[in-house]
Amino acid sequence: MTTTTKSGTDLDLIAHLLRRAGFNPTWDELQEHAALGYDGAVDRLFNPGPADPMPSDVIRRYHPDQTITQIAPSSGSVWMYRMSTTKTPFEEKIALFWHRIFATGQTKLIQGKVMLTQIEMFRKYGLGSFRDLLIQLSQDPAMILWLDNQDNHKDNINENYGREILELFAMGVGNYTEEDIKECSRAFTGWTIANMPYMSIRMRNNTLRPYGYVAWQYKFDPEDHDDGEKTFLGETGNFNGEDVIDIICKNPATPAFIARHIYHHFVADELPVPQWPFEGPKDPAAIQLMVDAYFANDYSIGAMLRAMFESDIFKSEEKRHARIKSPAELIVGTLRMAGGFDWPTQEIFKATAACGYMGQSLLAPVSVEGWMGGDDWISTGSMVQRINFASDTVGDHNKKGIRQIVDRVAERHPEGNVDPEELLDDLLELAGAIHVESDTLAGIVTYASQQGGIDPRTEDGAAKIASILQLIVSTREYQLV
């Protein structure tokens, strides 16, 4: 692979970190973090300033449908605004990570409000103790109704949540028995929502009548809780849900399972999750590194991620561009390159809808197993969507982010027309330290050479630069992160 950035390894490494812990970085983000050095940049991720996203009252005023209805594109757009405008993209990447694992969907829940509340919970607890996160998850109304825990009664258990917390959320197949599932389910009896009968029937009837959706509120019903003795993962006691979560969290299988997810999401594409019981992790040393950090830091997810980001495994050349961008990563990164949104616009629906067309409907995962990722993101249809969206987004040189790139090219070349090869070097760097293969680069340089002179200080030159950016975001390499 040919590097096309001017600044060498350090900037490339910072860009690698920011792509994985966020989205395609802007030049300002790159410069800001590069000034801190790599360790300082990692530290900034865990100690960011305010997110300062588009304010929720602004979204609500101009899109009254986005926080209170059941329509996935509307609620997904609230999150799309947040991801494309936040100053703390790592927070959103964490929310995406947990959304993919604790996959919950408004396809069943009908209302988007409770899904957005769950995403906010991921922001708040996603980097903290896994124990705290699992408790929040188990008390999250969207999760309770998604996996039917409102039907998990003292005298008639429903195993759905008890099974999935073990199989999909915390430990993985092969680390518990069917009896453990039953005992786990018993521990979560009585974990329900307020007004459960009415809220449940309205969800099943798929109706906003009579007065729109009433957002759900967690409630513990002691009368419906099985307080009897249980034996779970070899321990016996009158366990409730929190006790079961304690036992789950101290089991070594748990951090190993979460670490593999982290690796899959932040380091390199892993095998699909259903194959994990039969195939070991690609990089056992990386998994062990994170398991050790988990136990040394009170089950901290943030400590696992920090250990990974600071490791030579993560920094290595072979891990760069080793994952296929998820649709959300591709769309948000491209939107941020073009300058994001200053104010609500109908354009947001195009972005959210495109994410769905590419295979990742936000807040509406395909199943409880979430999205597999990796090669699954790519198909003939999704590639067309990817290229069309990215190309359309950066093709307008009047967009704030594109104009900034053009202006920076002009600052570097005050003399007039820019040499095509130098121009490509600049654009790849300014657009986020993007790498392309040498043959790809040659093709784009050829195109630039055919444009008849490109002066970035003219409108014609700015338009030509935007057209070159369109080619860059249409490359195979831009699909990788």
């Binding site: 449908d65 209170i68 329509i71 509340t117 029937i201 007065y211 729109g212």
Partner: protein, 337 residues
């Protein structure tokens, strides 16, 4: 200094009119404004969303009679994309604003489309996101020019006359204003949305005063969206993000604040009666569950009787206040006592 004085004005809950009608028909879906015609019929601007139906100007009355739907989603003449406000002129013609299409649409008293006008921009006679409408005492139309942070005055046919205000937080300046009201005495009240205050102007546009600071207390607002003023000069403020209505006398002395007390409307009760499973489940429904959130918007999201995004107000016979809620697809009726 404003304080609560001797003979306070109070409001008592009387009724609820509405029904979530995302699929169309009787009821509303994401309503954003309402207006009372001279004959007492109530017109509710049901904005809807980009996917489902249920949009249009819905017509009812104080007795829950259901009449008609006019307009609907679209870009053709007489339709709207993001409608924000409606108002009647002295001849019962309907004027409707659309912040996406940047146009004012006129329907005659028989609901037939007449014309539309408006040009997007920031110059005189142009606007960017019309969000509020009111007729002044001369019969000219005040248009809240939201993204240009000003109020413009037009003839009903769209002829530009004058402008009030500019961007800022000083006297007579605005920060994304929303609703506008002309009081019986001719004064102009503007919900200065992002400055968390109400500003008052003379008929001629001279600044009189401003009231409110940011907060949750009395005399404080969070993103007020609209006002109503009765013949005594009492001022009712839709304190939108605080999810309440605050009431003041004409000197801004605080009178009372209401949070909402919605019950099943006639239409809602008919629906519940017709659906046995929901009726049985609702029999144990506690409308005021114990909550673990404090943010007013979140509290309203979980408490059905409370106002949820109370966006617009209208007075009926000068005795009853109609409070329109976008989030609950209804308006509540409160009476002055």
């Amino acid at each position: 200094m404003t304080t609560k004085t001797g003979t306070s004005l109070e409001l008592e809950y009387r009724d609820t009119n509405g029904f979530g009608a995302a699929q169309g028909g009787r009821g509303y879906y994401l309503p954003v404004d309402l207006a009372v015609r001279s004959d007492g019929r109530i017109y509710v601007l049901s904005r809807g969303d980009a996917v489902q139906g249920g949009n249009g100007i819905k017509i009812t009355d104080i007795e829950h009679n259901w009449y008609d739907v006019i307009s609907g989603r679209g870009r053709s003449p007489g339709e709207f994309i993001s409608a924000t406000a409606i108002v009647f002129d002295a001849n019962d013609r309907i004027f409707m604003a659309d912040e996406e299409l940047n146009r004012i649409t006129i329907f005659d008293a028989d609901h037939s489309y007449v014309t539309h006008w408006g040009t997007q921009g920031s110059g005189d006679g142009e606007f960017d996101g019309p969000s509020g409408l009111a007729f002044d005492r001369d019969g000219n139309l005040l248009v809240v020019d939201d993204k240009n942070h000003r109020i413009q005055r037009y003839t009903p046919e769209g002829g530009y006359i004058s402008s009030i205000g500019s961007h800022g937080s000083g006297d007579g300046e605005f920060n994304f204003p929303w609703g506008v009201t002309v009081a019986p005495d001719g004064n102009i009240y503007v919900a200065d949305w992002r400055n968390d205050r109400i500003q008052r102007f003379t008929h001629d546009g001279e600044f009189i005063d401003a009231h409110g600071t940011t907060g949750l207390g009395e005399n404080q607002f969070h993103r007020p969206s609209n006002t109503a003023v009765d013949t005594d000069g009492n001022i009712f403020v839709a304190d939108w993000a605080n999810q309440r209505v605050q009431v003041f006398d004409k000197s801004w002395n605080f009178q009372t604040s209401i949070r909402g007390a919605g019950e099943l409307s006639v239409w809602a009760a008919e629906y519940i009666d017709a659906n046995a499973d929901e009726k049985e489940a609702r029999s144990s429904f506690d409308p005021y569950p114990e909550l673990d959130v404090e943010d007013p918007h979140e509290v309203s999201a979980r408490t059905e009787p409370y106002f949820w995004d109370p966006v617009s107000l209208a007075l009926f016979d000068d005795t009853r206040l109609l409070v329109l809620e976008t989030g609950r697809h209804r308006f509540q009726v409160w009476e002055k006592v």
